[in-house]
């Protein structure tokens, strides 16, 4: 094809696209970052659902986790672009509240995905994993595996004050049958969900307390970091790691024996349900409300008695993608 024809075709396609776009419902999706594979999956889920429903999806993200100002600007720009529904994974549960109120005052329906706002009713609805339950599942698993053997527990948490981190942590403790401040918890530190920081923290833990035999991590990158530290210290066989998240890399680590068990969540489902609800609202004016549990499943290849779980083959098939 000659260049001229190509240009003409491109222009035609664009014009056709614009014309078709006129009556399209517009939905905005704002994630915490662009780089975390979890949010990439979430975006894919939203894009697929939007395509299926004939909606236009605008996407944006904060520059880094915690970038509240970036998310606020994204909300404003999307409303300016004509979005009637905003799906958002708030970086800061409290700080985003005034901006969401402004959006809702303009008739925009807001659905939070993955993590809640504080207070939760600052958004119309929340589509998320039950993070407390996700913690409980790995806690129960670890308890079943340990039995009466005394545990020395280290936890690698998210960052200070973040509700998801707190819920998973507390869930893990309850599942394991201990309370906050229990003597078996020997180390607690924030990993920011980051592999490098998880590794550093674990190395320091081992200096402080070489007897650690159970590690709970907020997510699998932190778990992978912890494993590297344990391996370097020659302890990878004697220490159990449990985690939450269920990403594809994480499930591969379950298969490879790095992580004993993980609670798998389903961001793709959060996003596609969000888009469906959004299109519904734009077409019928019917809002969704309250909390919608998008499910969580324990993934392990070392099954414990009386603990409901699926193996890594199931996990790999469903990692973040199951609808």
């Amino acid at each position: 094809m000659k260049l001229k024809n190509r240009v003409a075709l491109a222009v035609l396609t664009m014009v056709a696209g614009l014309a078709a776009a006129a009556d399209q419902p517009i939905i905005g999706l704002i994630t915490k970052t662009d780089t975390n594979p979890y949010f990439v999956k979430m975006k894919e889920g939203a894009q697929e659902a939007a395509k299926a429903k004939g909606a236009k999806l605008l996407t944006a993200a904060g520059k880094s986790d915690g970038d509240n100002a970036g998310q606020i600007a994204a909300i404003e720009n999307m409303i300016a672009a004509g979005a009637k529904v905003i799906l958002i994974t708030p970086s800061d549960a409290k700080a985003i509240v005034p901006a969401l109120k402004k959006a809702r005052d303009q008739g925009v329906m807001v659905i939070t995905l993955d993590s809640p706002t504080d207070p939760q009713n600052a958004a119309d609805a929340l589509f998320a994993t039950d993070n407390f339950k996700a913690g409980v599942l790995v806690g129960q698993y670890a308890k079943a595996a340990f039995g009466d053997k005394p545990a020395k527990i280290a936890t690698l948490d998210l960052f200070p004050g973040h509700p998801v981190g707190i819920q998973r942590h507390d869930g893990f403790l309850q599942g394991f049958g201990i309370k906050k401040g229990d003597a078996s918890i020997v180390c607690m530190q924030d990993s920011f969900g980051d592999q490098a920081k998880g590794q550093t923290a674990m190395e320091n833990y081992l200096q402080k307390n070489p007897e650690i035999n159970l590690v709970y991590t907020i997510n699998e990158p932190a778990a992978a970091g912890a494993y590297k530290a344990l391996k370097a210290a020659g302890k990878e066989k004697s220490v159990m790691i449990v985690s939450v998240d269920g990403g594809c890399d994480g499930v591969r680590n379950v298969k490879g024996g790095v992580i004993a068990a993980t609670s798998q969540q389903y961001p793709l489902r959060m996003a596609s349900l969000g888009v469906d609800a959004g299109v519904d609202y734009i077409k019928t004016g019917k809002k969704v409300s309250g909390y919608v549990d998008t499910g969580v499943m324990l993934i392990t290849d070392k099954k414990q008695k009386n603990i409901d779980s699926k193996d890594s083959a199931f996990g790999l098939n469903a990692c973040w993608g199951m609808k």
Partner: protein
Amino acid sequence: MKRYLDHLPPLSSLGPCIALLVACLFFSTQSDRFLSGENFSLILQQVMVVGVIAIGQTLIILTAGIDLSCGMAMALGSVVMTKFATEHGVHPYLAVICGLMACTLVGYLNGALVTKVKLPAFIVTLGTMNIVFAITQVYSGAQTVTNLPDALLFFGNTFHIGQTNITYGTVLMLGLYLLTWFYLRDTAPGRHIYAVGNNREAARLTGIATDRVLLNVYMLAGLLYGIAALLSVARMGVGDPQAGQTDNLDSITAVVLGGTSLFGGRGMIGGTLIGVMIVGVFRNGLTLMGVPSVFQVMVTGILVILAVATDQFTHKKG
């Protein structure tokens, strides 16, 4: 009048202006929502915090310095003023002044280390960036401060011009740019900033108290970060200890896009405003087009390199 005509910028420094105009033209063909007063008011609101920080950054870069601590100073200021007003029972106006003072103090610390201990600005502010960040996190317990009194939110309020809502914060930002423009152009202390940035030793030999000029610039910049903190609080409606994390680099981006030389002594405050607007216009315009945000980051990167390359090129020739 003639005096100001003589001072018209040389053609080479019109680059940022042209870039902004071309960007606006392009986006107005892509989205019928782009070219409206409401949308431009929105863009101004979105850039006002970085916009005010960038004024301080410009002053410092004009002295051939740099400030990496600006975003963290801003976050400290926002936490101080909101916590003082809500938890320590200080009158909101007084709380704001305390916040401004905290930021000015950070500026003083930077300035003192640069002038008295003779450390490079990059290293000093790299250090204070981390120190101030840690202080802010500890002081706030990493918690967002909510339930603010109305007085702190004033600059987020709006008034109307025709159909367009404009926030008072935007007006404050534009006013500060105007003031700085006069300061740099028509006052002796303002001209001294250029002199010190061009050649510190030569400036000293002509009798300029260079250390005093530098110290004043860092403190003034600190005060400006405090004002940015007030705008941030008003815009977001909360005191946010996580705010400002990328504002140091964003403000440097704006200064560079605006044609101010990183080697000091050359540049104009108006350019910085245009640099700030370029970033805001791209972010807004690309969102209206439905372009994913990673590409917005990429575009900013390309623009920065183009801006510096243009600066190098014109500088060699001129």
